[in-house]
């Protein structure tokens, strides 16, 4: 039941490989060294210190349209029939996909990434018939010879570290969730105190969103293996303003568990980005993404260099 993405059109492969090569040559994301404390402020002055880098995403189309508002009607029937049975998603180049502007800074001990992309609507509720906006980034755990995980969720034995920010988590943390929007007609419906009492008595047992809202960090070894990490080492914060999302991730440069991406000042690693547009019914593998790693290069840290 592995989810597979078909790259049937050779022209797409060609475009991608050219893009990948040019990215490796001279266009990577530079993680600028700054001498100041870093935090989750999405509009902090520190972001003026870093040059933006744009990653162009492409849209995936789900062949299995149930469960989302999108459908396969946009794809010609002959095309769908010609696809191998095991394909769940195909590229749809005629569909709009966002460009994600990436900025990155580090101060020798912490690293922060800022992602900005345009979205015409803020969709912050994952409810019965609505879907929410989200952004995910992934990194290889290590950069070493023979270790070459797929930029599409990694592969068996070659795990990737995934960080995901979701609009509904942010809304929950900010106290901005809208009951009427997610459950129309239930505003004012009496809820038994049993629910509240049990949740207070057994905080660990609750499936309430707030307990898991800090869960940002995952590990994956291929499609359908995405698993939350017990030790969460990444903080995130997102804001929607003037038709744009800005999301900041913050982590210590030095990793404290081996399920996390290995970052080192002065070294290079890779990143991939995916964006879900809730308004378009994006959910699960139905999203916009890239098919190649983008290099990220950390500036050397002077303090560390002196030692």
């Amino acid at each position: 039941m592995k989810r597979r993405i078909l790259l049937s059109m050779s022209c797409i492969l060609l475009i991608m490989s050219v893009e990948a090569v040019s990215a490796l040559d001279n266009r990577g994301i530079r993680v600028y060294y700054v001498e100041q404390a870093l935090n989750l402020d999405t509009a902090a002055d520190v972001w003026n210190e870093a040059e933006p880098f744009t990653i162009e995403l492409v849209a995936l189309e789900s062949l299995d349209h149930m469960g989302a508002t999108h459908s396969t009607d946009t794809l010609p029937k002959e095309f769908i029939r010609s696809i191998p049975e095991k394909t769940d998603f195909v590229l749809n180049l005629s569909k709009d996909a966002p460009s994600v502007i990436v900025k990155a800074v580090h101060n020798g001990s912490k690293v922060a990434f800022q992602f900005t992309w345009a979205d015409s609507s803020e969709d912050k509720e994952n409810s019965l018939n609505t879907y929410r906006d989200a952004l995910a980034v992934l990194f290889p755990l290590d950069i070493s010879a023979g270790y070459n995980p797929s930029p599409l969720m990694g592969a068996k034995g070659e795990p990737v570290n995934v960080w995901q920010w979701r609009a509904e988590w942010q809304a929950e943390l900010d106290g901005r969730r809208d009951l009427e929007a997610r459950q129309p007609l239930t505003e004012g419906v009496w809820i038994s105190p049993v629910d509240r009492i049990l949740k207070n008595e057994h905080p660990g047992m609750s499936s309430g969103l707030i307990n898991t809202s800090e869960r940002i960090e995952y590990i994956a070894e291929g499609y359908s293996t995405l698993t939350k990490q017990i030790q969460q080492d990444v903080d995130a914060k997102g804001r929607y303003r003037d038709g744009k999302y800005t999301v900041v991730f913050l982590r210590d440069i030095e990793r404290t568990d081996l399920s996390d991406a290995d970052f080192k000042a002065g070294k290079q690693t890779y990143i991939n980005v995916a964006v879900w547009n809730g308004h378009e019914g994006n959910v699960d593998g139905m999203k916009s993404l890239t098919f190649s790693w983008t290099p990220i290069v950390f500036d050397p840290a002077p303090a560390l260099a002196k030692r």
Binding site: M1, G67, L128, T186, K199, D284
Partner: protein
């Protein structure tokens, strides 16, 4: 995708399914006698107050009772799936149409299904208590079976299927079937709220909690079942129409197991829409007054025989009579029963007697006048 061929005894043939079938050590099952259900909704409320009283669960009824043919929670759940698989037909006891898994293969899907709209869940039981059938002129008298105009109540919970479509359609393996008792659960920690399980399940028993942003479903009251006690909806049923237990595959059926006796030996209890292909494990004694064509569509080809047995042969079958009076006679799961001299005995898994019920209640007539209290009684029987 659908790599594995598994045997589905309810449709009498092999069937493609995404996973290799591993039958659990024992399989959760229940029998509901639709002839006795009065739609009092005590089961619905027993379940509701036990499991779904929280925010985000307002619209949920893991157990619901709907009126057929017009009712459905969510709206037209069964008709929509039947339409999608193209009706389907039977040759004898073998289903020759397509299951939801087989139909899905044609369409490059894991499971054929649909995600109901918010409104489809919003009005359970509203406007559905209507008869269907022929015209009923004034003074008309209904003679015999089936009735020319009819409706009936269909109580529903999760079927804890042998080949669950919710499991098949979850890309994250967040839904699983327990090997110890066959109960199907959603791992709340792994669930990412994609709603594929809801779209996949033909019975629409997984439901989405918009507050926790995860899917939830009937848990088969597993904390009770683990203690050997029947589920809330079964134990609280005031009409005593339900019994819960463990069902075997046909070749391993035991005559003294209540579930096996009803499902395999007398074949009076039938699966709900077996043609979907999930091998559901809640079995129904079909309503005897409903036209057979409709029942065949709902319960499969065994329905004619089942109706005949229940309607005509029960009177001369003390074992069946005894078993039916054991329904609702004990909160404990009865894994064994026997009927002797007009009394039925039910035993729990340890072999302890937990229910003893007479097939015919002794009829006592009291004097209308009570000398001791000097009163007249109206309730003499």
């Amino acid at each position: 995708m659908h790599k594995f061929k598994n045997h589905n005894w309810q449709i009498g043939r092999e069937m493609k399914y995404p996973y290799e079938g591993h039958r659990p050590k024992k399989q959760f099952a229940a029998v509901f006698d639709t002839n006795k259900c009065i739609a009092c909704q005590t089961c619905t409320l027993a379940c509701k107050t036990t499991w779904t009283s929280g925010r985000g669960q307002e619209y949920m009824f893991w157990n619901n009772v709907e009126t057929k043919p017009y009712g459905g929670y969510p709206l037209a759940w069964d008709m929509r799936v039947l339409e999608m698989i193209g009706g389907g037909s039977w040759k004898g006891k073998t289903y020759t149409g397509k299951t939801i898994f087989e139909k899905a293969i044609e369409e490059r899907k894991d499971v054929e299904g649909f995600l109901p709209d918010l409104e489809d869940w919003a009005a359970p039981n509203i406007g559905e208590d209507e008869v269907t059938g022929e015209k009923m002129p004034q003074g008309m008298h209904i003679k015999g079976f089936p009735h020319p105009m009819w409706f009936f109540y269909l109580p529903r919970i999760c079927n804890h299927c042998t080949y669950p479509a919710c499991v098949a359609n979850c890309p994250r393996q967040a839904v699983y079937k327990r090997p110890e008792d066959g109960i199907v659960l959603i791992d709340q920690d792994r669930c990412n709220g994609y709603k594929h399980c809801i779209a996949g399940c033909p019975y629409k028993k997984p439901m989405f909690n918009s507050t926790t942003t995860r899917s939830e479903k009937c848990v088969g009251c597993y904390p009770k079942v683990e203690q050997g006690i029947q589920t809330q909806c079964v134990e609280q049923c005031i009409g005593k129409i339900r019994m819960q237990g463990w069902v075997s595959t046909p070749e391993k059926a035991r005559e003294d197991n209540p579930m096996d006796y009803l499902v395999h030996v007398r074949k009076v209890a039938l699966p709900l829409y077996p043609q979907f292909g999930t091998e559901p494990n809640v079995y129904y004694i079909p309503p005897i007054h409903v036209p057979i064509q409709y029942l065949k569509q709902m319960f499969g080809p065994g329905v004619e025989e089942a109706v005949k047995i229940y309607r005509d042969k029960i009177t001369s079958d003390p074992v069946m009579q005894g078993l039916l009076v054991l329904f609702g006679s004990s909160p404990e799961i009865m894994t064994k029963f026997k009927v002797k001299k007009g009394t039925a005995f039910g035993y729990n898994i340890k072999g302890k007697l937990v229910a003893e019920a007479p097939i015919r209640e002794p009829n006592v007539i009291r004097e209308a006048y009570d000398k001791k209290l000097d009163v007249y009684r109206m309730d003499v029987t």
